[in-house]
Symmetry: C2
Subunit: 349 residues, 2 copies
């Protein structure tokens, strides 16, 4: 019996495809099937054995190449490392024009599909040298440094004209998809603008056209608010897709996450830490994901007026089923205002 | 510590909401938080204890009301029962016009969101009276009867002008979302057209406008084909979202699943059975979902030309992570033509 991964006999370059039914890009990436996992069972607990973890300090040689570290001195101990993903979904190395490579050229396969060569960057941000330390254990300033490392990497990637969007995301816990338990985030830089991002831009544009305002600059209803800091506010969105989904939004209009400055990074670091601790205390340390929802790198000025970046946090409390896969419509058992009230009132030690 | 469900102090009617950022309907349904599960742990195994299962023959009194059974004689033993879902995501009982009820009227909450009252139908199709029997264990004719029961229920629901779309779906195994192990499918009838369905219609329209053809009537490339019967073909779609995703497509143009006649139902029953058995043998009995992708109930004639229904089967082989949640873009480690080859060649006993 061939398992899904054993069908990958030769290693092929990744491709990004869409068909006329879904008209939605899908990344085909055989390399991904080979990545290891250090979770024994599907549980959010983190094994504490750092001896075999490539992300731990001392095991740097087991990792794909480093892009940079914080602090930058290669001889001093590091606090954060940004490295290449050893099993990248997209490849930084493909590029001959003939195969529709980084010139971004599209190939058609008959009438029935389109393909873009899978050029892109897929990096890992190791958030701490120590296996047992989670992001929420760091000081606000240190969480800010992780965010600034993501910003720095986006600014490097921005130099590639072919890259249209950089998705920063974090998986925490096996049920949130994590294959590695050592605290980390990822960046995936894409040669296409993904569907959720286009859809979000289209709908915030619609709101802007009707009202002349950016919908995330508007004052959020009190009953959806959780916490407010100097530069950020956390809310449960009115139509939260998942129970206890939380957005952290800059209070002043800003389109690109990578506009974040040092002062705001500390402020955001503090609010992110607080929010993750609230989730952990209230919801019993659930697996979670967070995603930075930002503007496409080459968004034009008129678009920037209605694109407002935010950090989306999703605790994984229940799986999804056929209804959600089939329709793209979600069922949320907890009204947003109820979730916000709980999150406002929880006390973290 | 309040758990997600204990925050539901009073029971509220379901609502369907969208906000201007995602512009996508989300069903808020506190009732759903209360539904039981007979899976002890997250595993695809089916506990064999029918004593406490409300879906087993003899336990009909533990279920929400029956809508109909097959065969229809209420005194004879049943083979299939279509019943109300005891924890429905939408409510068939709400309807006073003043709360934006089944007149489908929309309310706005300030500028920042829209709400439709959560009117709809949510039913369960119990596929066998016996706890240990799975859909793929039935004879082709019997699988056909299950499909015809879904068709009959859709035809009943079609009478309600407010219902725009009926999603038929099946969850098999806990990691595919199933909370009940007794073989069953569900129907969820919605007062809105869900996002995946609108998007699919828009993109098949685009193909039709360009070529004059329905893209699912086109001959599928040989290397994506799996099996062919008199009336149906099974394929791996060119841009499969999930590894080993399979579509069963009627070979002649048909927009609505509920056009299925008795002869085609047996033919489809046979191909569905074969496909589920192939998946089970090849991929080690994985959890899976299937979804019937059909046309909106009130689709107009010009639309019917480019809407072609199909049955989408998704084995759950790997979870998703922050990248997919954030972008709506999926990473598939298995090229479609490789998956199709494996599925063509697998022998089922
Ligand atoms: N020695 C090494 N050096 C460098 N990198 C190494 C490495 N060993 C492992 N890696 C990489 O480290 C990453 C760890 O990432 P995560 O634990 O967040 O989840 P992963 O990306 O595996 O998949 C989850 O997230 C993705 C994206 O959301 C989903 O597609 C998927 O289903 C879900 O399980 C992996 O991408 C892996 O390739
Ligand atoms: N005595 C009884 N009488 C009548 N009905 C009864 C009943 N006891 C239980 N039920 C209903 O039976 C259904 C069984 O359905 P499934 O096992 O397919 O998954 P469920 O709908 O729970 O959730 C999965 O599917 C949905 C939709 O895809 C996802 O939202 C969710 O996350 C996922 O776990 C439940 O909907 C439940 O409400």
């Amino acid at each position: 019996m061939a398992s899904p991964s054993s069908t990958q006999t030769q290693s092929r370059s990744p491709e990004i495809r869409k068909d006329p039914v879904n008209n939605r890009w899908v990344i085909f990436s055989p390399a991904r099937a080979k990545r290891p996992t250090d979770f024994k069972a599907k549980s959010p607990q983190n094994p504490n054995s750092s001896s075999s973890c490539p992300f731990c300090i001392g095991n740097e040689h087991e990792c794909a190449p480093e892009i940079f570290r914080v602090p930058p001195d290669p001889k001093s101990d590091w606090k954060i490392r940004v490295i290449q993903n050893l099993y990248p979904a997209l490849s930084r190395d493909i590029g001959s024009k003939k195969d529709g490579g980084p010139d971004g050229e599209m190939r058609c396969t008959g009438d029935l599909g389109r393909v873009v060569t899978g050029f892109g960057f897929h990096d890992v941000v190791i958030e701490s040298p120590v296996h047992s330390v989670q992001l929420q254990d760091l000081e606000p300033r240190e969480v800010g440094e992780v965010l600034l490392a993501c910003k720095k990497r986006i600014e490097q990637i921005k130099e590639y004209d072919l890259i249209k969007y950089v998705q920063v995301f974090k998986n925490h816990g096996a049920s949130a998809g994590a294959s590695m338990s050592h605290s980390h985030s990822q960046l995936l830089a894409l040669p296409v603008i993904p569907p959720t991002i286009s859809a979000r831009i289209n709908s915030t544009k619609e709101y802007f056209d009707q009202t002349g305002k950016c919908c995330l600059c508007e004052v959020q209803p009190k009953d959806l608010q959780i916490d407010v800091t100097t530069h950020f506010i956390s809310i449960v969105p009115f139509a939260a897709t998942f129970p206890f989904e939380i957005w952290i939004i800059p209070r002043n209009h800003s389109s690109h996450f990578h506009e974040l400055d040092n002062e705001k990074a500390v402020d955001l670091g503090g609010l992110l830490k607080l929010t993750l601790r609230k989730i952990s205390v209230q919801l019993n340390n659930p697996p979670f994901n967070f995603m930075i929802q930002t503007a496409p790198l080459q968004a034009i000025d008129t678009q920037l007026a209605y694109i407002h970046w935010f950090l989306q946090i999703v605790p994984q409390l229940a799986g999804v089923g056929g209804f959600e896969i089939g329709t793209g419509c979600y069922i949320n058992p907890v009204f947003s205002e109820d979730a916000a009230k709980v999150m406002r009132e929880v006390n973290v030690p």
